[in-house]
Amino acid sequence: MTLPTIVSDFRNGLAAGKLLIQNCSDCNKPNMWPRYACPHCQSENLGWKEAAGTGTLHSFCVLRQGAPEGFEADLPYAIGVVKLDEGVQLAVRLEPDGPGDWSSYRCDDRIEFVSTSAAEIERRACATFRRARA
């Protein structure tokens, strides 16, 4: 099945180590998840911009059992929702503090995008974040 362009563009960005946000070329507002028409002005004239990669962690969890099919080998893993500084939100994986340990994370922590290898994005096409180092 051919992926829609907005999906392949986003994933190609991740594979190149970039977190892309869809940006409306008419009203200049950011959209996430990417849409087929701008939810703000209904324009179909949509492009991309690279995110700064920083934001706050709205919430997260550590899944320890009951993975969906194909994710069993990843357990345990942490999923979070990030509010990017650009004002849009997305679901991401969180880098552990150490093996199986995410105990340092708290809601509203500052977190940052971590680029992952193209091979890893091929396997799991999602962004990874960690606690901000700055």
Binding site: C61, V62, V81
Partner: protein
């Protein structure tokens, strides 16, 4: 903001829709109980409770199942019309679906059909076989419901992960402790221990047991996750004029409803500790003319404790941030200030998929009809708040129900 949502059916008008009967069979693991067999049983129980026979029904609304696409097709293509012997006379049979809030939307649909004259007597049917289904298959299926495949499936998200994120955000925002969250589950179990149809009728539960159970998705322990169950229930609605003709003295009417669809996937929700409840509640109060402190019971969707505490706060039953402590103080318990989820809810009566919300609604109607078994019937129950939510808690739906004397 001051929106006005007028209900164009005055109380007691001939076309005012009313609930007149309910039916239910036990929730739990019943692999030998067939899907169509269970649906037939609850249909007949609800019709008997309403003083009707299948021939009286002109419209069937179906609550979907999530365990089988083949069984879903049977529902959609009117199998129950034939099973009940009303093929040739039944006017319409169709499915309503918005996940966990389906029952709320089914009531809105039936209400509109009856009030406008498109239907006279409506039978709403629900059956789910989650308890007998393959657990791994159901987990995988649920990792695709309310989760966008192209954007979020790659993270490995599933339903417990969604519940866990909402729980963590709620605990962070409210300062609720693990003990306070667990106390919500204990209240639900206390009610289930009074409901012979509940999955955990004979099993008490304590805060200590919950906190000692294994961690499934931090911060959720296994005893805080909903038990997948088989279950079926049904209810009947008609017009006030029809009910009077049938000599029905007391029934239940819809005083008003409110709703808000706040997101599709959880990552797009602006505040996971609030969701759509405040706007849904404002709309519901505006339509009904009564408020949170006028209710005698609440039946609020409870696939996870935080789902209910967030709703209670948005509805205005508990103060902001105090939902879990409201339960810990016993307010929702049998004999408490506002009996909440008096059938035991999804967490203790059993999570029957889309049917969990239907079971809460059916219990609300049963309480208002004063037909609950004496040990859990709330005395002089006149008003109920019903709350539902579907998908990844994409919506907040509120029905305000009240007992009404028809003066037949």
């Amino acid at each position: 903001m001051s929106e006005q949502w007028t209900l164009h059916v005055p109380p007691g008008a001939d076309n005012d829709p009313v609930f007149v009967g309910v039916g239910e069979i036990p929730t739990g693991k019943f692999p030998e109980r067939g899907f169509i067999q269970a649906l037939t049983k609850v249909a007949l129980l609800a019709l008997k409770d309403a003083g009707m026979t299948p021939r009286d029904i002109d419209t069937i609304l179906l609550i979907p199942n999530l365990h089988s696409a083949a069984d879903q097709a049977d529902l959609i293509f009117s199998r129950m019309v034939e099973e009940l012997g009303i093929h040739g006379s039944c006017k319409s049979s169709y499915m309503v679906h918005s996940g966990g809030s389906t029952s709320d939307n089914a009531v809105r649909s039936a209400h509109g059909l009856i009030a406008t004259g498109h239907a006279q007597n409506v039978l709403v049917l629900q059956c789910e076989r989650w308890g007998s289904a393959d657990l791994n298959e159901m987990i995988t299926m649920l990792s695709k419901n309310g989760i966008p495949g192209e954007w979020e499936l790659p993270t490995g998200i599933q339903f417990n992960a969604i519940g866990a994120m909402i729980t963590r955000r709620y605990m962070h925002a409210s300062g609720s402790t693990a003990e306070e969250m667990a106390s919500v589950c204990v209240t639900l179990r206390n009610w289930a221990n009074l409901n012979e149809n509940a999955m955990f009728y004979t099993k008490p539960l304590t805060v200590e047991q919950i906190l000692a159970s294994r961690m499934v998705a931090d911060p959720l322990h296994s005893y805080e996750c909903p038990p997948m169950a088989d279950g079926a229930c049904a209810f009947v609605m008609t017009s006030t004029a029809n009910a009077r003709k049938r000599g029905i003295g007391n029934a239940v009417r819809l005083a008003g409803s409110g709703g808000c669809v706040s997101h599709y996937c959880l990552s797009q929700e602006r505040d996971q500790a609030v969701l759509g409840w405040p706007l849904a509640a404002e709309r519901a109060w505006s339509q009904s003319g009564w408020g949170p402190h006028d209710a005698d019971i609440a039946q609020i969707y409870d696939s996870y404790a935080a789902v209910t505490t967030i709703a209670l706060e948005g509805i205005g039953i508990a103060e902001k941030g105090e939902g879990a402590r409201w339960f810990a103080a016993g307010n929702g318990d049998p004999g408490g200030k506002l009996p909440t989820n008096t059938n035991g809810g999804l967490l203790s009566a059993g999570h029957t998929g889309v049917g969990g919300g239907t079971a809460l609604l059916v219990e609300g109607i049963r309480q208002l009809l004063h037909r609950a078994p004496p040990k859990r019937q709330v005395e002089d129950c006149q008003r109920a708040i019903i709350g539902g939510s579907g998908g990844s808690y994409m919506d907040a739906q509120i029905l305000l129900l009240e007992r009404t004397k028809l003066g037949a």
